[in-house]
């Protein structure tokens, strides 16, 4: 019982903030609760969640993956290209895409673990390398011939307002949550993130944890890249260019510690929901486009601040 209470304290404030905001919006704008809008919200949440999880895994380790968006873009165009130029069946292309994402992540992990250079520097370099391969292959031209099945997946809903793309996101959330909650590998990653020395003394293979984490991050980034293709209906080489900052925003709002050792999957998901909600609110209230960026910054600052203030008070009460 105490455990659940403690767990919920990570994201309870965020949940209240997000749900409160949603209620506020739906009172002011009845359209907000329309089936299509909920679909749109969930659709946006699905992709952002995948991106956030890709970074969250690496944050758990106390590292960063700057090449996240670059992997997403590369996998996205490779996925589209395999189907367009190679005539590969969509399901096979998905597997190939996941494998490519995994491979990119593995390269990051291997270089970080074996060369003993900070992941920040390694992924900064691979960011350029993967993006270069992407541009070199596509010549910066989008790939248009996306099979109808893939396009359908990008727009279809399971039932009512629940988009199909929520399925991979949900699977990823459950998987990552399980991983960091109860799978030994995930706990090992957290242990390495919290105290590498102690983890090594307890017999945890630090390099294995590092490699596994980066591979997972690459896998999730690759999945996100393919989701983006399905959503956009085009194999855009620019996919992933803007992922870096949002990928950090949600986990950090959700309470993850950047130095490693602690992440909250639920917190990150609520963080994603909050950012999506803020974005939509700014559209809904027809905010002057010139003010959008400014307000978004203030609101993020406020959300993080409120969450922090609340958790501070809570620890004091204990």
């Amino acid at each position: 019982m105490t455990a659940t209470l403690r767990l919920s304290s990570d994201w309870l404030g965020l949940a209240i903030l997000t749900l409160g905001g949603a209620i506020f919006l739906s009172v002011l704008r009845p359209d907000f609760l329309s089936s299509y809008n909920i679909f749109v919200l969930l659709d946006a949440i699905a992709l952002s969640t995948m991106i956030a999880l890709g970074q969250l895994a690496v944050i758990a380790l106390g590292q960063t993956n700057l090449s996240l968006g670059s992997i997403g873009g590369l996998v996205g165009v490779a996925f589209a290209g395999a189907m367009q130029a190679g005539g590969v069946a969509p399901w096979l292309a998905v597997l190939l895409g996941l494998a490519l994402g995994l491979a990119c992540g593995l390269i990051n992990g291997l270089l970080t673990a074996r060369a003993g250079i900070s992941a920040f520097v390694i992924t900064l370099a691979t960011l350029a390398a993967y993006k270069g391969v992407n541009l070199g292959l596509t010549q910066a031209q989008p790939l248009y011939d996306i099979p109808a099945v893939v396009k359908a997946v990008g727009t279809a809903s399971i039932s009512g307002p629940v988009p199909v793309l929520l399925i991979p996101a949900a699977i990823a959330v459950v998987f990552v949550w399980c991983l960091f909650d109860r799978i030994p590998l995930g706990r090992q990653i957290l242990a390495v993130g919290a105290n590498q020395h102690a983890a090594r003394l307890a017999g945890i293979s630090v390099s294995r944890a590092v490699i596994a984490t980066h591979a997972l991050s690459g896998l999730l980034a690759g999945a996100a890249g393919m989701m983006a293709v399905a959503r956009l209906q085009v194999g855009q080489p620019t996919i992933g260019d803007d992922w870096l900052i949002p990928s950090f925003t949600a986990p950090v709002i959700g309470g993850a510690i950047l130095s490693g050792g602690y992440v909250s999957v639920a917190g990150a998901v609520w963080g994603v929901a909050l950012v999506v909600l803020i974005t939509q609110a700014l559209v809904l209230f027809q905010v002057d486009p010139y003010y959008v960026q400014f307000l978004l910054g203030l609101l993020i600052l406020a959300a993080v601040g409120v969450n922090r203030f609340r958790s501070k008070r809570q620890t004091k009460a204990v």
Binding site: A3, C178, P184, L185, L190, A191, A194, N195, L201, G261
Partner: protein, 519 residues
């Protein structure tokens, strides 16, 4: 019967230094074996080799008669060697149970952890240590002493035939230490071989059966029975000659001017009615168990916690101290933290940058201009007086021995010319010889006219050093008296004050009342 652990002629060298030049050790099942040696004698290297963190260059390790070779810590654990390390090796955001069984999680990979089984098993090991802790609690919620016990529970859980304990009692209270000893004796009776490393010779004499002493990377003695050995025998083995027994003498003049005085001080942290005078030229010892609020009082004095009631006076004038910066530069108060590595020194910086940190702002010239030469002129005499051993002034502090690190953390306050020195646990983790040196040093500093407050849980140290002793319990001063220098008499007096303290419950409510009043 073959020994549980048999090391013969182990050698290991690091670039520039031969750490071990043929060390042997024989650990029999069913015995508690002390491993002693001064800092730098090669003890920690030997421990690293036994636990698989480093591999030896020469010599042989046998476990239960079979030669082994560890490539990593996991292999040592699997060979039945459980370890309690000196530094804390717990994962703060993990539960107690998970920490206890961490090595099992380390060897698994994908099958989900069954937490109820983990916690059940953890409960078993906690019971064995007479600890009543919910294994589901997070380690980050525990105090240092309990965390230490969790590490011991972890070593137990490995059901090792060989248990290596590196300074396990450093942060334990008297009663916790006793519980630990009871448990260790029980394990010994079950046939476990225990290797016990400690600087506290009294504990060694009380607990252990045999002793191996290291000196300068070699054996000063090999697995010698402790029966019949005295404290001074051990010390002379460690340092190669008889221990100098200092009698520093006591200064009990009451006519010295009062430098720092606390008058019915209460703090936001929960201290109440603290009255304490610190005279120029004397050492006041502040004794208390871990968690009694001693370090917290020191922090309140230098402005890190709010004073909610009463006043602090310097030379009789009431003052308000807002930050350590003010404490140092306006009032000349320095605080040597108990947490040397985290707060006392900057490990990744050089000696000069560490010692100079208190004087930069005083020495700077136009536009903040500051030359090394200026700093060195002030700092060098202090460093040489303290005999800090470093290859150069730029040598990184992390590469210094513990004793030298402590000298650096003290030197910066001497360089700053502080009049009031608060020294928190001055000799934790420092070997016997250097300890004696520090005692003489502190004594000397006081006699030069400084007011020194020594905070320590080490009773012999306090009785050696202090002119007067104050006892703190539960954030209150429960007794103040002159130190006669007689160990038996004084330790009795101290314990009497602690046990006469009001019961915990009523005090807690007072504390919360104080908090409420403060907010």
């Amino acid at each position: 019967m073959s020994p549980a652990l048999d090391l013969s002629e182990i050698t290991k060298s690091f670039p520039g230094v031969k750490a071990l030049r043929g060390v042997s050790l024989r650990l029999d099942p069913g015995s508690i074996h002390a491993l002693l040696g001064e800092n730098g004698a090669g003890k920690s290297t030997l421990i690293k080799i036994i636990t698989g963190a480093q591999s030896p260059e020469g010599g042989e390790i046998c476990v239960s008669g079979k030669p082994v070779c560890f490539a990593n810590p996991l292999q040592a654990i699997e060979a039945g060697i459980g370890v309690v390390h000196q530094e804390r090796n717990l994962i703060p955001r993990f539960s107690v149970g998970e920490n206890i069984l961490l090595d099992r999680i380390a060897s698994a990979s994908l099958r989900p952890i069954n937490y109820s089984a983990v916690h059940d098993e953890a409960t078993h090991w906690l019971r064995l240590l007479e600890l009543d802790i919910d294994p589901r609690r997070l380690v980050s919620e525990l105090n240092v002493a309990t965390a230490q016990m969790i590490e011991i529970a972890r070593a137990l859980s490995q059901q090792s035939r060989i248990l290596l304990m590196d300074e396990p009692t450093a942060s334990l209270t008297l009663s916790e230490t006793q519980a630990l000893f009871r448990m260790l004796r029980r394990l010994r009776d079950q046939g476990v071989a225990i290797l016990f490393v400690s600087h506290k010779l009294e504990e060694i004499l009380e607990l252990c059966d045999a002793v191996t002493v290291l000196r300068d990377g070699g054996n000063a003695c090999l697995s010698r029975p402790l029966a019949g050995m005295s404290r001074s025998d051990i010390v002379s083995l460690m340092i190669g000659r008889a221990e100098p027994i200092p009698d520093l003498g006591r200064n009990q003049r009451t006519d010295l001017p009062v430098t720092l005085s606390l008058a019915s001080v209460a703090t936001l942290g929960g201290h109440r009615d603290i009255d304490l005078d610190l005279r120029s030229g004397e050492i006041v010892g502040l004794y208390g168990l871990v968690g009694a609020g001693r370090s917290e009082l020191a922090r309140a004095i230098i402005g890190l916690d709010r004073i909610t009631h009463g006043e602090i006076r310097i030379d009789g004038a009431p003052v308000s101290i807002g930050s350590p910066r003010e404490a140092l530069h306006r009032f000349g108060i320095g605080y040597v933290s108990e947490d040397r590595k985290q707060e006392g020194v900057i490990l990744s910086h050089g000696v000069l940058a560490n010692v100079g940190s208190t004087v930069w702002s005083r020495l700077r010239g136009w536009f903040g201009f500051l030359r090394d030469a200026t700093v060195i002129r002030l700092v060098a005499p202090v460093l040489s007086a303290l005999e800090v051993k470093a290859s150069s002034l730029d040598q990184l502090v992390e590469n210094l021995s513990g004793g030298n690190q402590q000298k650096v953390s003290l030197a910066k306050w001497l360089a700053a010319g502080t009049r009031v020195l608060i020294v928190d646990e001055p000799t934790v983790g420092i070997d016997v010889k250097t300890k004696a040196y520090f005692h003489q040093l502190l004594h000397k500093l006081a006699r030069e006219g400084r007011a020194v407050l020594v905070i320590s849980s080490d009773m012999p140290e306090l009785i050696t050093l202090s002119d007067r002793i104050a006892v703190m319990d539960h954030y209150r001063l429960v007794g103040k008296f002159e130190n006669s220098g007689d160990y038996g008499e004084m330790s009795h007096a101290i314990m009497a004050y602690i046990h006469a303290a009001p019961p915990t419950a009523s005090l807690k409510s007072q504390n919360s009342a104080a908090n409420a009043a403060a907010t």
